[in-house]
């Protein structure tokens, strides 16, 4: 543990990993409850176009990715709110467009090629710059702030949109807020686990947590703990075992899920016994 802290790049990576581990499952809890588990994947695909746009225009890819991901998330939300039957297909079209747009634009960028995109697709946490850390820090603060300030309203929205409406909540604003927050989370997590695995950090800790919890807030808190354990633990093991950090993080999270499945079954059985006559 001491050895890896001697490197500056590892410090930056650890800070990024910690922030992502906290933010992604917090947003993820609402997204899973809203049956939008694949929203993160969709935004991730669209964000790739943003990354390529950054290379093409000479802007920081993280910033262009934020812009395009937010636009994509808003588009997805508008499609979702409109119709139900064609929503799936419309989302799929957006995903393909995102990937194709990214590949096309990166080819036009000077000196760019598909391999430039690889570090964004699969993450490259060890190349996180201090500018990246700042951007990630600001975005993570925003994401956690949204959860803290609007959490109560988002809970009602994600539980039942019509009940939210009859309670006078600004349903459209909150829906867009959650989509935009998810987009920002995707961009934060992009450098850590990569766009293709971003969604795992939003969904897997929540899926793990809900095996053993009974309430919404405990599910979210445990998911955040599991998220941090996965990102920091995965990064550490990747450092010592010389494997890809993004993959290590996701596989660690999935291992947790498999363990929780067993524990959850055990816990529930114990409860039924106690509740029984």
């Amino acid at each position: 543990m001491i050895e890896m802290l001697q490197y500056d790049f590892m410090w930056r990576a650890l800070i990024a990993a910690l922030l992502v581990g906290l933010a992604a499952p917090a947003v993820g809890t609402f997204i899973v409850q809203r049956r939008l588990a694949l929203l993160g994947d969709g935004i991730g695909h669209v964000a790739l176009t943003g990354v390529a746009l950054g290379f093409l225009t000479g802007t920081a890819p993280v910033l262009t990715a934020v812009g395009v991901a937010v636009l994509g998330a808003v588009a997805i939300e508008l499609v979702r709110a409109r119709g139900r039957t064609t929503g799936d297909v419309a989302l799929a079209l957006l995903f393909y467009g995102g990937i194709a747009g990214g590949v096309l634009l990166i080819g036009l960028a000077p000196g760019g090629s598909n391999s430039t995109l690889t570090s964004y697709l699969f993450g490259s946490i060890s190349s996180v710059t201090s500018q990246d850390v700042w951007v990630i820090g600001v975005l993570a603060a925003f994401v956690l702030g949204v959860v803290a300030i609007f959490g109560r309203e988002l809970f009602v929205l994600c539980q039942d949109e019509e009940v939210a409406k009859v309670n006078g909540l600004p349903v459209r604003f909150l829906s867009l807020l959650i989509a935009v927050t998810a987009a920002l989370t995707v961009v934060i997590a992009m450098r850590v686990v990569g766009l293709l695995l971003v969604s795992a950090l939003m969904v897997v800790p929540v899926a793990t947590s809900q095996q053993v919890t009974r309430g919404f807030s405990t599910t979210m808190l445990l998911a955040m703990v599991l998220g941090v354990v996965s990102t920091v633990g995965g990064l550490t093991s990747a450092f010592y075992a010389s494997v890809a950090p993004g993959a290590a993080i996701v596989l660690l999270a999935l291992t947790g899920f498999v363990l929780a499945l067993g524990v959850g079954r055990f816990v529930r059985r114990g409860r039924t016994h106690r509740a029984g006559p």
Partner: protein
Amino acid sequence: MTRSSQATGVAPRQSPGAAPVAFSMAAGHVSLDGRPVLRGIDLRITAGEVVAVLGANGSGKSTLIRALLGLTPLSAGSAELYGLPPARFRDWWRIGYVPQRLSVGGGVPATVREVVASGRIARQRRLRRTSTADRSAVARALDSVGLADRAGDPVGRLSGGQQQRVLIARALAGEPETFVMDEPTAGVDAESQRHLAGTLATLVEQGKTVLLVAHELGPMAPLITRSVVLRDGRIVHDGPIAHDPMPDDGPVVLDGAAAPGEACHPHPGHEQARPHAYDVSGGPMSSGAEQ
């Protein structure tokens, strides 16, 4: 159609004009997927009334209350909540809505207390912490539906009837003036039905306005001051339910427009005694799936 003037005339507990109109609809039409569901509804419900919307499956009961709340848009006509169209209505704390069933969503668990506490949302300001008033309202709501001992349990593990009580407790927690309940008795066990009738009696005592959709009223029947019977998207009866002065005479009050088989079952016991009173859909009385 002079339905609305007729409707004001039957408000029995308040002198007309004194109480504000909680819900109103004029010549309301609703089409869902091109199919007309409501065809020309005129309805006024004054504060303090206890109204049951009755009718067979597919008669438009749920659509009517959803349209009154602005959840389903009207294709023609107009609806108002306390004198304002739903889109401009702001005092949502006045209304407690009990949907047909608990939406489980993506499977993230929530405790009974969390769901009930979320009923306070219309009274809570952003960034304000949960107050003592919030907590005691939630505790009272849990008590009145008899679920205080289950407060820490995940709602997903309760029975259907208990989940229905959770939904009612959520509305109670907001301490609204008006309750709108979509089939609160559908698929509910006897114990929960009694709880529900008890809760409703308390609300009536407190002078709350209640608008509920039901397939059968069961133990709630004596509390209802007015029944609105729908058939094929039209109101075919609007007036008091006879509160069973002579049990064998039958409690069903229908005006001449209604066919003899039209549904209005304040007392489930009469179904066995009078088989011809079954609703025209022929389905089981308690299956409440109606969108």
